[in-house]
Amino acid sequence: MSEHKEHNHPQEKVGVYVCHCGSNIAGTINCGEVSEWAKDNPHVEVSRDYEFMCASTGQELIEKDIQEKGLTRVVVASCSPHMHEKTFREATERGGLNPFLFEMANIREHGSWATNDKKAATQKAKALVNAAIDRVVHHQPLEKIPVEINPSTMVVGGGIAGITAALDLADAGHHVYLVEREGTIGGHMAQIDKTFPTLDCSACILTPKMVEAGQHDNITLLSYSEVEQVDGYIGNFQVKVRKKARCVVEEDCTSCGICEEKCPVQVIDEGYGAGLGHRKAIYRAFPQAVPGYPVLDKENCIYFQTGKCRACEKFCPTHAIDFDQEDEILNVDVGNIILATGYELFDARKIPQYGYGRLENVFSSLEFERMINASGPTGGHVVLRDGKTEPESVAIIHCVGSRDKNYNEYCSKVCCMYSLKFAHLVHEHIPGAEVYNYYIDMRTPGKGYEEFYNRLLKEGTHFVRGKVASISEADYLPGEEGKLIIQSENTLLGKQQRKPVDMVILSAGMDPQPDAEEIGQLFKAGCGNDGFFSERHPKLAPVATMTDGIFIAGACQGPKDIPESVAQGGAAASAVAKLIGQGTVMMEPIRASVREEECSGCRICNTMCPYNAIEFDEEKEVSRVITALCQGCGTCVAACPSGVIDGAHFTNTQVLSEINGILWDVQTEHEKATA
């Protein structure tokens, strides 16, 4: 009829397969009726319904029909394409058809599972099947696009997960850039004294790994550095890394530590020292820091405030101090990126009724980790805030900020175990001390964890099952003077309870890093509602993200203990090693392309692409899509005012036909004719 309906109706032979999925679909949708009904669509050559299409027998049906009935298109009405699109594309290919001449109708997740109304579900299934048929007839054969994988990898975050991933890949012979924001790698694990349940000394098991990472020929360690920009796509990332100036010339520095000794400035160490210890203006976080070069803190350095002092420069034997050192921007090309940026301890100051920051003898768990550590500010002695008095009674509060609607609803997995560890350490350091652990549910899920809990019971730790309501110095009863009074319920005794103690340790849970949102946007790895990075699939792909080539490992993906972080570090490394091993990766051919002869050069599309995959040819005055960079979102296709950009596999004709097909039961005869 009208002149621009150029797409006529190619006469295709479509095979339709309606899956029962056991009772998942057949329980609500009348699969027989749908497959029968599909037969009177002019394009349909054969239409079947079958128990389990994803089973090998189901797939064989497709292959056989293609060969015997000469099908040119395949439609499978079953589950979500995110589940079995790959399976059925391969079946279509084995049958001899290009895998993209196939379309799925999601009648399970979007159909049978979403309603109990059998009639409506069947009607909706017919619509989705009809839409798929009307769409698939316009599908074109497409070939996946090979993309070379750059064998070098970037690991962001030098905690235990990042170190493990870097070492695994480096040992496999691949080059790794390990980027760490702080002056040294080690992460939170370096701050911990003992690890549960074996009471291994954390530094003893961590530092060898740090040294190995620091000296590995395949690892370029970029410490005191942050990623500023990420471009490109899987196999071909271009990353801008800002190597912050530490005012120390790394080549000349021998890590002798004299500069640290001579520096007159002493400030509270909010970073590694968790606010309990002190450090100099030029410092190494801890003796075993890797790399061993110190970092100059410009905010507190006298030279940078007043221009005087320069003590470190004077005493440095190898003249390695350079106050004028500039930040360096490095352009690093890598094939894959593993984010292992870790967590942040929940800030107990957010719970005023626990008094952290107001009541002297209330300590956070990291503060206690530093205190109990032999190289810590108190040389490992457990003392009150006055730095001298040993507490006779210590309360350890579990679930601070966790499992609580006002703060974090999730459980942080590790606090019960490290609270048990603290209880043991207090007994060990102060044999006579009374220790009270306030818990809601004792969670000891790991290997040897429950045994550790039983050991604590034998050591005479008092376990009070109840959420602590408040910690305050307001004494009512005799014997409460000068003490911290823990007001809580005791659900096992079924009554309120007040307990005066000398010292309180708040076992806070794990928060996502404060800048997780920005980091997520930088690397195109989204964050979930809890603020941690979202994995591609909670069960089957815990270390992959929605973006190909970007992986996550460790606490940045959610609260977890050291063994799990190490396991995820290894998993991410093996996922990357797999890609490197393959050498090339076949990318979905969903790309945009411009019909240049009809392009008017209006340049509307130029600002549509976040991947700079559209360039403007100045002489010919036409725009062009760089296929390699295009990620196939289709935003430019929808914006092009003369309709000369089309998106493979999501062409205008395909989607418009899908719309017509889906409205089969509300379309008038007139539309049907002109569709």
Binding site: R349, I351, P352, G357, G387
Partner: protein
């Protein structure tokens, strides 16, 4: 800024000074109160415990009158009990249609009507802190209360208005603390500032009430407070009138005056104590007021890290 004003019964009798001081500071704070005509009692804490429907009806009448007066949409109640009852009733009417239909019938009898949600019920402290703001208060301060150690006492209803959102932290409110800092006073951050004063427990079981009041007095005293400032006539009454009963019962000798926060604001604005109703309190505040000095206390020099000064405290966000 214009506000509908609901004084409540206490402000006409035992809490006369609360009303006087509120009126005195209204003009400098730029607050214009027009009282709800023919308001009736709000049932305080007792009536809701005895019979809910008539209690809700009683309070709804005040809401209907205030809304009908089409003055400002904000209804201010200085007394915590009135504030809680007005806010709770407005919330309940919005939440449950059956209650609403019963109350509508009651209101129709006095040809009144009330659409839930049409009023924004505020406590006076909330109005001063949120609507006026600390800067505006500071501008009016002419005689700062230097050297006066004040313990701000919030009680339990203002920080925790049952199901509804509180304008301050429910466990550890700080709005009145900041207000007194603005007035130049030394604020005593005593832990029980949001614990219950016993309310009408003095009528039901005096011994329990006396123990609750003793705890508050002991805590304020332990922290060296010269006086306690409160936002509710019932809390004032319990701590002021029953102080010597506590002393007799427990053999203690507390002598801590209990005043209204509006009286202290008035003092800092240079208004005379008489005009602010000072003198009506049973434990006289004169001795405490005498401690106010002209110059601010010597600023402690924050020395750098002292030798063996123990372990550093974590920095609180505001200070840090």
């Amino acid at each position: 800024m214009k506000f509908s004003y609901y004084p409540g019964c206490s402000l006409e009798r035992n809490a006369r000074s609360y009303h006087q001081s509120t009126m005195a500071i209204a003009e400098p704070l730029g607050l214009e109160f027009d009282e709800v005509e023919d308001w009736n009692c709000c049932g305080a804490t007792e009536y809701f415990a005895i019979n809910k429907i008539p209690a809700y009806a009683l309070v709804s009448r005040n809401l209907a009158l205030a809304a009908g007066q089409n003055g400002s949409r904000e209804l201010v109640a200085p007394c915590s009990a009135c504030y809680i009852n007005l806010k709770k009733t407005d919330h309940a009417l919005a939440e449950s249609p059956e209650l609403r239909s019963k109350i509508d019938q009651a209101l129709e009898a006095g040809d009144l009507a009330y659409q839930p949600g049409s009023l924004n019920v505020q406590h006076l402290l909330e109005t001063i802190v949120k609507e006026v703001g600390y800067e505006a208060v500071e501008e009016q301060v002419t005689k700062p209360l230097y050297n006066l150690r004040v313990a701000p006492y919030y009680g339990c209803m203002v920080p925790r208005p049952s199901a509804m959102e509180s304008f301050d932290d429910p466990e550890h409110p700080m709005s009145m603390d900041k207000l007194f800092e603005t007035l130049g006073a030394i604020v005593v951050d005593f832990p029980l500032k949001a614990q219950c004063c016993g309310g009408h427990m003095t009528q039901i079981s005096e011994e329990t009430a006396l123990e609750m009041i003793r705890r508050l007095l002991k805590n304020a005293d332990d922290y060296g407070a010269d006086m306690i400032a409160t936002v509710c006539p019932m809390c004032q009454l319990n701590m002021d009138a029953y102080q010597d009963a506590v002393n007799q019962h427990f053999g203690t000798d507390y002598n801590i005056p209990v005043v209204y926060f509006t009286q202290l604001i008035g003092l800092a604005f240079g208004i005379s104590p008489k005009e602010l109703g000072f003198g009506s309190e049973l434990i006289s505040a004169d001795a405490a007021l005498a401690k106010v000095t002209e110059e601010p206390p010597k600023e402690k020099r924050r020395r750098r890290v002292k030798k063996n000064a123990g372990l550093p405290m974590p920095v609180m966000p505001e200070e840090g």
